[in-house]
Amino acid sequence: MTNIAEHDKNARHLLMGNEAIARGALEAGVAVAAGYPGTPSSEIIENLARVSGKRDLYVEWSTNEKVAMEVAAAASFAELRSMCVLKQNGVNVASDFFLHLAGSGTRGGMLIIPCEDPGALSSINEGDSRHFSRMLEVPLIEPGDFQEAKDMTKWGFELSEELRCPVMLRSVTRLSHASGNVVFGDLPEVDHKARFQHDGFILDPDTGIVSSAPVDYRHGLQQEKIKKAEEIFETSPFNTYTGPEKPELLVITSSACNLYTREAVLLLGAEDRVGILKLGTTWPLPPKLLEKHLAMTDKIMIVEEVIPFLEENIKILAAELAGSIGAKTFYGKRDGSIPTTNEMNPDLVVAPMAEVLGMAYEGASAEYTEKALPLAFFNAPSRDLTFCPGCPHRASFWNIHHALTLDNRNGFVCGDIGCYSMAILPTGFSTLRTMHAMGSGTGVASGFGQLGRFGMDQPVMAVSGDSTFFHAVLPALVNAVHHKADITLVVLDNSGTAMTGFQSHPGLDTDAQGGDAIKLDIRKICESMGITVRESDPFDFKDTQQQIFELMEIQEGVKVLILKQACALSPEKKHTKKFEMKVVEEACRGENCGCNRLCTRIFRCPGLVWDQEQGISKIDDAICVGCGVCADICPAGAIDRKEVA
């Protein structure tokens, strides 16, 4: 792995987009980086945390994205360069502060870096934060390749300092998580000095108070900054054109779609017919630059992912410029040439491009497709989204499902974001019945918990991870307690922000940089609110189910059950087996048992497999992590666990 903190100027390295962004930040001399883990953004903070000692950096995993942005902003106010890193929906969490920050302006260069997930590969939304740039009036820049990911990060800090406002630098999964060549620049000597000047003239941007008020004045100032950004963007080297002087078709694109468009043109061999205007500065758009390129041809295609952000902004400009550039035909999302959901790829660009150009293009021959499809269908094993072997969530939802089903009052669970989101699927016995944003399980449950007055007699339950508890559950829980909502919250405490790779959180005694941190006790927090709190080990089915029953019996108010069991992939558990598991062949009655393959059909831990030949279950030793839980589900007692000495 490349050490991104080496000086190594001019050396070429294969870097992941997120590493390139982190390197760019180091080259810019960033002093403070804060974020909340979320795919595909997490590696930026992780990489910076790793070199924080060497580069005089403060890096933290904040409690949530809003706090992360506030933490980073403070550094900017104290004239340091800072950044806030989050995933697309994290921008929504931070947006209230972001709105005010855009109004107050910044001092030291400050980047807001959302890494987004078109196609929702690791999300349950494909939110598009580009709209925040227009809505909150802050400049937006988007790297179109890996070198630019580094270079534009460095430039973004300079831009922010020049404009005195936060700058959004947006990445997407295929940039953040793919890798490409990056030539290193210089690393500056760092000797950060923080000082917050606040006693000058109150309206002085460098020494006065930092606030978006008085709004009339500051908002005007902010819009002047955007005007200035527009001017700067007119000559930005990150807006590039490749192609003939008079192309038949002009494609305007940005971000990862730049790569797809380039590939599509190559695939069609249409280099002399298609021009590509790749924009690195996507809001505000530079009008003169657009005017120059829009004038080249009357056919314009806009290639971008998800919602037509570029397209709409370009069309506004084209309407304004109609007198000089003439009428255009646009190909994009509005006319259906480019899809408005999911990720883009070269094939999705080739097809409409070939059509506009009147070229025949077959991505794959009919014969190939005919052969490949059945092969893929019959040979690729079907793999569900599933909890890992030994995952405590499987046991937790086993218990919750049993308790709610036995309770038999049509109770349900409100969920949110974490590995436990998968409990909406069969791997979690389809236990979750609502699933939204971080902390929403508890918030939505808090609302359901008021509906008894309207005749709702179903038990209401919510689940939350330990990191999520601090992130956004707390305000919802306070609300539920204050308003006496009748709910049971189950905290699935697997001791870490497990889904994104064990980042620290306030419930742990360590921080992002590996230093000592104050550990907050979820139980004590809940008890201090007067909540009845129970604790159990989800691997202990009997006790856990009993606790759930007892809590549900308490008719009024908020009840909390903390289920403690570390994630199977946690550093403390990984590569250790507590039990050696075995299916006793004589005891497993296979198809003759009344269980109808409970272990492999319902419980479905990947460590359990159905032996077709013998017609019984067996343990896949390569996959089983020896948690021992399945021994308790087999009604025939055929699964044996032996403690590993």
Binding site: H401, L406, N592, G594, N596
Partner: protein, 347 residues
Amino acid sequence: MQIAGSKELSEQVLNQDLCTVCGACVGLCPYFKVHKGKLAKIFDCDLEKGRCYAHCPKTDVDFEQLAQALFQQPYNGDPLGIYRRITAAKAGERTGTGDFQNGGTVSALMTCALESGMVDGAVLTDSDGLLPKPKLVTRAEDVVKCASTKYMATPAVSCLNEAATDGKTNLGFVGTACQLTGVAQMRLNPLEKSDFVDPIGLTVGLFCTWALDTRQLMDFLSTRVDLKTITGMDVPPPPAEVFIVKTGETVVEIPLDEIRELVPKGCGVCPDMTAEWADVSVGAFEGKSDWNTLIIRTEKGEQLVEKAVAEGYLVLDDFPAEGLEHLTLGAGNKKKRAKENVAKEEK
């Protein structure tokens, strides 16, 4: 009878609210369980045929087949079922004393059966607080502790199923009609399992006109008395038309009409008042509250009664002809009502 699986059981019984929580489908697989007097299906099971369906007393029951298997004779449609004789009975001195609802005949018979080794264990219904709870009893002296009518649907057959899974045989079973119909069907090994062993040594049936939904009764009573203080319940013979709840100091009388609202729909389609598929059946004796009506149905039942009388567990008396008439009328009325309700269901 066409045997189907749990999907059909759900469609035909559970979703129609016909389950009386007898427990016949519980303890055979991981899918059906009972919690606080209510049956729950934990997961879907896609087996085409299941014992759950085959044993359930609320699916189609083949009376002819049961009559042949249990009594070696054709089903005769008598409102009281097939029987050898009817007598009045009550516990003898050797039975000991318990919280008998009436004459203590059931306790007497089971104590005798266990003491004499006629059975090696007995599945009875005990209480856990107010909740009825099936229990496998192996010591004769524990039988009387389970005495008294619980009035609530009890998954007693589940306890028998679990004991059978544990390999126990020659067990006594005490239960109501739905439970005994489930047990009788189980004994036929309808799925022809090669490893099937009949766990039953002896069955004692309890007369039953209806049971009450456990949860509804709890909710109902909790608005009138402190549940923890309840010591017993009773339905005195007509024309009282009340349901009596005894607490430490007081007796609360509730009009029977209010209580009937809590009867599960499944009881309404039950044609069997006297637990026809048992070796002997026991119920109240009209006019003499410290005696029981005892119907002896099988040879084994006869042997048990003879032994119990001979060894002082049980005392018999003549059963009056007008009593028989009355009993037959009551049982016949239940059959008639059930038939009407089934017809209503089928509409």
